[in-house]
Symmetry: C2
Subunit: 195 residues, 2 copies
DNA sequence: GGTATCTGACTGAACCGCCGTTCATTCTAC
DNA sequence: GTAGAATGAACGGCGGTTCAGTCAGATACC
């Protein structure tokens, strides 16, 4: 096992291939061709086809959470942090259309991912949002009686749905334009006083 | 082709089978066994395995939209209508766990469904929500400058995420308990004045 | 520096199990 | 007796995975 970033190349190729045709419709040999290697080589780095998808998801999600954490550190105001989360969420997807396609459409394949594989990474992202909300409650900016877990899921669900619609609508407009409206509606929904 | 509700029986069986093991992991013969018929019989009523899933989705979604429309007709106040939509959404899923599993987890299989097959039915549901929001704007209850399309997707996304979390969390609590908080946060987010 | 030997990453044709689909046959109702 | 619904064994091809063979580069020895 020489090349230390061969797995990365395979994952990058897989993202392009899955984005084009979907996971179950893509052949391992398609990924190999896209990566410019032989199909057998993939099995030097991944045990099965499934493992490619699981790893891809794990790594991208971990990168994503790390990025958000880093960016939020620069921000003090909890409400501004929420706006930043929404802006980043949309920005990253808009800048990586292939990844967006895979994450929003292909990665939802039941049993295999949302169950198990992804649980840890997704809940880390949920944790980031929850923490900010708690912070806002502590600062008196957000309703003291807000059910934080419910609000967290709502915000994630709202962003996710906007993203999915954007991907399915062939990305015929700018997703980032939705960031402000989404943040504003959400914040007005959870804040103690007006926004 | 005698039995006029044999297709329904097949669909009902398919829901149970897909809920248990997922679409791609389920064999046509599993559906046949669950329905108490031979696998070949399924091909008297459906051209392919895919058609079973597409039909299942179309029919359930159409039933769902019809139900919501019917229930809303009894309600005058647009804000109360929103509360009713949320309550119904959660109630139906809670009362049909197998369907919930299929709709929330299995039916997301990229290419095949959200693209094409389901587009019409999903947008009908979006239409119901949009109409209510427009109505609320007309009545001066909802912010005149609300971006209705964005708000529609947000509400759907929020409900959808709550439902997905509930399904993935093995349904270890009552989904309907989340209806009021969700509706309240959303309404506070879109309303012109307090709720 | 040159040659021989070795190492192990890489290849891709072939394998094999799986499963959607078919269709010759059986069954049932009239 | 017949039409047509139902059956389920068998088929076919698809595609994930394997593994015997290749070859580029490293190592050893002269």
């Amino acid at each position: 096992m020489r090349d230390p970033d061969k797995p990365q190349q395979i994952i990058a190729a897989a993202i392009r291939v899955f984005a084009r045709g979907g996971y179950y419709n893509s052949r391992v040999s398609d990924i190999a061709r896209e990566a410019g290697i032989a199909s057998g080589t993939i099995y030097l780095y991944f045990k099965t086809k499934d493992e490619i998808l699981v790893t891809l998801f794990r790594e991208k999600m971990a990168e994503w959470v790390a990025l958000v954490r880093r960016e939020l550190a620069a921000e003090r105001n909890p409400l501004a942090k929420i706006r930043k989360i929404v802006a980043l969420h949309f920005q990253v997807l808009e800048e990586n259309p292939d990844l967006a396609e895979v994450v929003q459409v292909e990665l939802r394949q039941g049993q295999k991912f949302f169950r198990g594989a992804s649980a840890h990474e997704v809940s880390a992202y949920f944790g980031v949002i929850s923490d900010v909300l708690e912070e806002g409650v502590g600062a008196g900016l957000i309703r003291r009686d807000l059910p934080v877990k419910v609000a967290t899921k709502m915000l994630f669900g709202a962003m996710d749905q906007l993203a999915t619609s954007w991907v399915l609508g062939k990305r015929g407009y700018r997703l980032t334009e939705a960031a402000d409206p989404v943040a504003t509606i959400f914040l007005q929904g959870v804040c103690a006083h007006g926004v």
